[in-house]
Amino acid sequence: MPEAVLEARGVTAGYVPDLPILHEVSLVAHPAQITLIIGPNGAGKSTLIKAIAGLLPVSAGQITFGGADITHIRTDQLAARGIAYVPQTDNIFRSLTIRQNLDLALRRAGAGAPARLARLLEQFPALADKQRDKAGTLSGGQRQFLAIAMALATAPKLILMDEPSAGLSPKAAQEVLEHARTLTRSGVSILLVEQNVNQALRLADHCFILAEGRNQIDGPADALLNNKVVGEIYLGARRMGAA
């Protein structure tokens, strides 16, 4: 196994100090791989990704990125270190134009910015035509692409994606997920949260399953695809009424 890009060990975190949602969750992500996090509603998937992104206080445990401790590093500094985060909703600035959104994300790129912008526009032709439009006017799929383009603008080593296919048509969802796969070919690692379990498992390399804020099982994605335990975790959670 190559060295991990991201490693979380025993992370306990939540929105309010005394009410943790995650309980000692651990996870590893490897270079140029898609690491998938799945689990029933309320499992703490988004909470985990926000905690990694520095948006929630971590009360116990440690998160390392490329070997360095990033547990208590501010969100904007994580961005500078090479961690990009694409939230599930509200992931673009609606009041800015598409070009302004991209320019904002490219702010730290310095002299390389024009070349990087050109590459992004080439990669996302749908955005290239609408540069002067307000981002709020984009369709759902185009918004996700803009959000991903903004994440890529920082030339990240790791992208955290929170349900990028949520609310999209099946076709647009497929496109977004396939795009994620192509990104890993250029060496980027992706930590992906998805509800679209079967589709995502076919795409991912490794998968962690959470329920009720705790690790359940993990393993290679293709092995989990036909694993009965996966279904049971979903069904079990549903039977217990935990949401």
């Binding site: 948006l55 904007d76 985060y85 509200d90 600035f93 959104n101 904002l104």
Partner: protein
């Protein structure tokens, strides 16, 4: 009537400048800052001191730039006061608002701002005395634009209007052409997403106070040029600048500019139908009208 309209535009120019900073603070820090108008007073008095100092030290600057009553010293004072007031806003945030904010008492910020307004206003009163002050003791003669109907404009007023428009245009360029401007707008729309995109929240908040304080200083000085300086000028200006932000829509810089002119013009036009004693109520009436017709203002967005 036309005279009232012209006076209204001139009044509007300094109300707009005050409202821009207020609307930014209200949008980004999410509280109605009742001490913002005191930054106008602070700026006006800081310029008074600086003007006197520069005039005494460099007599060349004490000469009036005819036909304005303005001196070179006052021009220098405007810039010094902008910096001073911006820094003061920053210090006040550090000492008071930041601490209240960090205690999680978001609603208490409004109280704290009222308390700060009382302190600043009355400290100015203690330091400078309660009687009015003027930048220039000379009587500025008005230019007659028209004899029938009689329309008078002072050269200083033209200067105020032009300078205000230039400042607004500069701000527009910053907001619409620079990544720094985008980052301000980004924080206003979605602070956590802005951080995700590498924007330093603390530094942006500092920038907002610097810009808001700087523009407030200019607004205060222009008010002083058009009227006179009194320690309680903040008390008289707070409602008009709040009205401007509500008319324009809280958070909208362009709304604040337009709202400022609307408030200024409405206040002066009201003189045609109402006795002058009622002028202080006009901004309130405007607020009520906007809340009935268009609660989120001309350019505002609904936001919880």
């Amino acid at each position: 009537m036309i005279q009232n309209l012209i006076d209204g535009v001139l009044t509007g120019s300094y109300i707009s400048l005050g409202a821009i900073g207020l609307t930014l603070v209200m949008h980004i820090l999410r509280f109605a800052n009742f001490s913002h108008a005191e930054l106008l007073s602070l700026g006006a008095y800081a310029a008074l001191v600086c003007d006197a100092l520069v005039s005494a030290l460099v007599p060349v600057f004490a000469v009036k730039l005819a036909p304005l009553s303005l001196t070179g010293a006052l021009i220098v004072a405007i810039f010094v006061s902008m910096v001073f007031t911006g820094l003061s806003a920053l210090v006040i945030d550090r000492l008071v608002f930041k601490r209240v904010r960090e205690k999680g008492q978001e609603l208490s910020m409004v109280f704290a701002s009222f308390g700060m307004a009382l302190i600043i206003r009355n400290v100015i009163g203690l330091v400078f005395g309660l009687s009015p002050e003027l930048y220039s003791k000379d009587i500025a003669f008005a230019m007659i634009l028209s004899r029938d109907p009689l329309i008078l404009v002072k050269p200083d007023q033209i200067f105020v209007l032009v300078a205000a428009l230039v400042l607004m245009f500069l701000l527009h360029l910053i907001l619409s052409r620079t990544t720094f401007g985008y980052s301000l707008r980004a924080v206003a729309e979605n602070p956590s997403l802005a951080q995700v995109n590498g924007v330093n929240l603390q530094r942006t908040i500092m920038a907002v106070w610097l810009i808001g304080g700087g523009l407030a200083a200019v607004a205060g000085i222009f008010y002083g040029l058009s009227h006179q300086l009194i320690p309680v000028m903040g008390r008289d200006l707070v409602l008009p600048i709040f009205a401007a932000t509500i008319v324009g829509g809280i958070g909208s810089v362009y709304g604040a500019v337009l709202g400022g002119f609307i408030v200024g013009i409405a206040g002066n036009l009201a003189l045609v139908v109402l006795p002058s004693g009622y002028t202080p109520s006009v901004p309130f009436l405007l607020i009520i009208v906007v809340l009935i017709l268009r609660p989120h203002g001309l350019f505002g967005e609904a936001r919880a």
